[in-house]
Each structure stands twice: as structure tokens, then as C-alpha cells.
Symmetry: C2
Subunit: 345 residues, 2 copies
Amino acid sequence: MSELRYCPIKHRWTIVAPERKQRPYEFLRPDQEEAPPPEADPFAAGNETLTPPEIFSIPALDGSGGWQVRVFANKFPVLRVEGEVQREGVGLNDTVSGVGAHEVIVETPDAGRELADLSVDEIVPVLQAYRARLVDLRRDPRLRYVLIFKNKGREAGAAIAHAHSQLIATPIIPTVVVQELNSSREHFRHRERCLFCDIIRQELRLAERICLESDQFLAMAPFAAGFPFETWILPKEHSYDFALATDAELRGLAAILREFLRRMRALLDDPPYNLVLHTAPSPHPRPGRPDFWSTIEHDYHWHLEIVPRITRLAGFEWGSGYTINPTPPEEAARFLTEADPDREE
Amino acid sequence: MSELRYCPIKHRWTIVAPERKQRPYEFLRPDQEEAPPPEADPFAAGNETLTPPEIFSIPALDGSGGWQVRVFANKFPVLRVEGEVQREGVGLNDTVSGVGAHEVIVETPDAGRELADLSVDEIVPVLQAYRARLVDLRRDPRLRYVLIFKNKGREAGAAIAHAHSQLIATPIIPTVVVQELNSSREHFRHRERCLFCDIIRQELRLAERICLESDQFLAMAPFAAGFPFETWILPKEHSYDFALATDAELRGLAAILREFLRRMRALLDDPPYNLVLHTAPSPHPRPGRPDFWSTIEHDYHWHLEIVPRITRLAGFEWGSGYTINPTPPEEAARFLTEADPDREE
């Protein structure tokens, strides 16, 4: 059984998710194991029996009767849906039981295509699956946040090459999200303006860090980008919750995301990358925090964050909490703006 | 010129340290480049002209007239010592000029030996060099913290295989250190006891997460270890500042550190690792924070943190700020306690 543990010194949560291995140097995460050969690809069409039962799917666009996008529980979950959330303090230590959800969202039945290879029509159902799982899991009052993310490539943590995203729903709002919510609420409290909307206006005016812009969306390198080519994709109109995005908005997002991924792939030689959806937490009130949700519709702004994994964290980063970014975001944005999305590798 | 940038949303500092490269996918950090062949090892005895000028050294223990430990500026510094610290706000963004120090501490003149291969007599001068550089750089009123760390192995960020540590001194106290200082001060304020001393007492009583213990020091897996086999080495007696450690204390630290590193190497097949010294910041008063230093002698506790790099951070970790640890610290401590430090690979 997994357990969330809190460090009283670093104020940092860790999910201690033990795996049963024989020797200590095998205590590695599944994502470091070898990918299976293509014929044993558990995420391919026809191999559905190799995965846990289907939770959700979207029918194939070609009308073949198969699926286009398919969701099921992770076979090696870090959190499990069974049980009550127990919060306990033992001496100086705090724990929360490892209740949650850990699901896999397969993005295409084709083993050989990655997200950047899909058409806009094919990316839309992936985003619809994100939205559907978000809406469904928010109904569970034990779960405070649903984090949807994608690891592409082994260096970015992917265990299986077949294009997929994942979600992990947790009984605590993650630290990074709490920080964003706090910053946004504090900014709004004094100004009655959304912090993200203010940043979008500033960036559009400065025009130094914009990668791509469409009617509805903006792809930009954040001013304090922690990593080379870190990019955020945001709706230009204020919108606090991805779960409320319309199909038309998801189509706009699919278009700019596809364009960005193709440019990044061409520019950086198909890098491993992580993609994370940042959106409002589940709307369950927290004891003792009556104001936590009072202005979220106005103060928060959902977005995607994408980081190609081309640098390594080392001792300085662990010890300081800083990152070192050798690529100024202004240069990264310029390179991406000038990249040819259709360049053959 | 480097620049520290602050993210108003994530409250996170990044050092934007541009390097001059021709193509965007070469915008990688030097630590990802190939190690030079042994004959061109810039850190070996006899190759001193390949490095920037010597800042500090300790004479060879064999009386040969050479050096045992040698310190010089990093050839590719992320921060530079020249100039004044400028703090500036531009719109929603905050910057601090990239003034600081970035030095290399070569741990032995021998190219073929790593820190775990050195004798206690040879590790003591490495720790003396840490102490000497800490004392010297604290005199600079522009610098608020001196972070000393070691990256061992390319996966841990080492560019050069020859055994060495590094230090980076920054004009801002790093986020991780501020968090530790705040936790410690808050704990002390209510209890008049050091948080670390309380944890040491609790861990000694529980005896579940102790790896090694000597008269003066303890090596333990922290309760909420973020990574498999994460280990902290702490002085058992309260001591807030590594710079005040006596030679006798450094000898005790050298002994337990050597024993730990040899056990970890045997157990985990010579893993890449990071080691970070956590100690009190430079004693320069911060404007508006008169109480920041008032109890530090009583509330903070220096220690070493060591993390073997055998798991990868992926999208969930970036997006949440949590880590996932597949090895319960109780198991890690037991494996390390039982490991044979002299096992041949």
C-alpha cells in the first residue's frame, strides 16, 4: 500500500509507493525498464487484453468500430482507488494513505505514431478524454486534484513507447498547484485582475517570448523559464478550468499544440519531453479554508506546460531549488518561431 | 552575463546562464558533453595549466610538494564574481544580476580514484577545503549563501570524471535553504528545541531508518525520503554551522561518509549520485528581516544530503512538486546497514 509522507523540514510530500523487487538495485521505477517489442505492445489495437479493463474510450474516427482513444487503470499504480483517506501524525511525521487514481490514456491505436504525428482531428479526442476523466474523477470527494500529464521518450520517464498520457489523482492538492493558486489569489485580491491574464497582456505587448499565436491561444516561453525551451500554452480569454472547455476550444488547442510539438521536434531532434495540464482543483471544500475557492473562477487560468528534457538536474538544483537554464527564453521563442514544423529528420 | 529570474506564478528562481552555441540543440549544459580522454584530464596533477588559476590548495599528504586538494574557478561559471548585485523589477518580472562564485574543488590528484576510494586521511582535506572556501566566501557581503555539492557520474550531472566537488555562491539564499531555515525557526520558536535534534532523538529511539552511527555522527534515511536510498548525515550534537566544525569533527565526518559511500557503491552497483552540504547562510543581515538570524545558532543544524540517481523525474513530479519513491526509507536503511562496504564489483 502506498503512503504519502510529509517532510517537516522541507515541507515536501513524497509518495512512497513500494514495489516488490528482489534485489535493492532493482528498486527502480517501471519507467526505466525496457520497452516491450512491438508485437507485445500492450497499448496497440488488438492487444486490449494485455491491459486492465477499459474505463473510457472514444470510437475510432474511421468508423471501423475500434477505438481512437482508450483509458484504463495503470498496471503499476502509484496510488489505488480503494479505501478511505486516513490522515495521521506519528511523532514529528505526517502521513496520508495512498488513495487515488492512476490511469493511462492511449492517444492512438497506431503503435508507430506519436502525438505530433496525429492530425488536429485525431488530437481533439485525446483532449476530450482528458476533459472526460477530469469531470468524472472530480465527483470523488476523496480526491482533491487530478493531474494529467504526458511523458514522451524514456529520458522523460516513459516506460512504453506507444503514444500515451497519464493521470494521477491525489487526496492532497499538489505543492506546485497550491503555489500557483496562492500566487493567483493574492494577485487578484489586491487588483481584481487575473495574474495570468496580466502576464498574457504583458507578453503580447513585449512580443519577445511569444512562440505561436492563434485566435484563441498563445504559446510562450515564460520569463523565468526553468529549462531550455520550456513553453506554456494558454487560452487568451480568461478561463480557470479545462473541464469547461468547449469542443471548439479543444480544437483550437489541438491545432496550436500540434504546431508547437512539430516545431519542437524539428528544432531539437525529436527530444524527450513532459507535458502537464495545470487546471483548477476539484471543487471539494477544505476544512478550515473557506476562502480557498471564493475567487477561483476569476483568479486562476488553466494552461499546458511543456518541457523538453535536454538538460539534467544535478546537485546544485537539488540543494538550492533553483534551476539553471542555459537558453534565454527570448532565444528559445525565436528559434521556435523560425522552426520549420515540416522538416524531415 | 547571467541573470537570476523570478517567476511570479511559481515563486521559483532560475539562473539564466546563456552559453554561446551555434545551433539550438547544442544549447545543452557543459555537463552533458563527453568527458575528455584521460591524458587531457584537466583536473589531474601535472595538468594545472588547463584550469583557471588556483584559489586554494592543501599540500600533498605524501610530502611530494604537490597538492592533495585544489580549488579554482569553474571554467564555465553560471555566476561570476565581477560587479554589483542589481535587483530590478520590470513589469511583473523580477531579476537579480548574476553575481556570485562558481568554483571546482578537486578531491585528489589521482585520475583513477573516486571519493569512496580515498582513505579517511585523504577525505579530511576535502572537507577542510569545503570549510576554508565557506569561511572565505562569507566575507563577501554580496553573497548570501555558499552551496557546496558534488555530482558523481554523468547521470548526476558530472562533466568530468575526475573526482571533484563544486561550490556556487549566490546573492539570494536558495529556496530549499530558506524553507529549512523557516521550518527550523518556527519549530524552535514554540519549543526552544532544534527540529533536527528532535528528529535525531526520534530516529534513534525508533531505530527503523538508521544506516550508520558513530560517536559523533548519524547516517539515516529521512522519513519522507524523496528518492530511493536518500541519506542524510548529521552531527549528533547540535551544531548549526559547518564552518565551525573542528578538524576532529571533520575526521569523524570523513569516516562515516567514507563508510556510507562504500556501502552505497557496493549495494547499488556504483550509482551516480549527488551530495549537498546544508549549512547556515552567510551572516549578512537582510533588510527588513531583523529576526532572521536571531536564533539560528539554536535552531538550525548542518548536515550532508546524499541522493543516488537511480530514478527519473517525469511529468508527474514536474507538475506536482511531489516525488515518487519506490523504496521505503526503512528498507533502504536496512539494505545499507547490511551492505558489505568492501564488496568487489
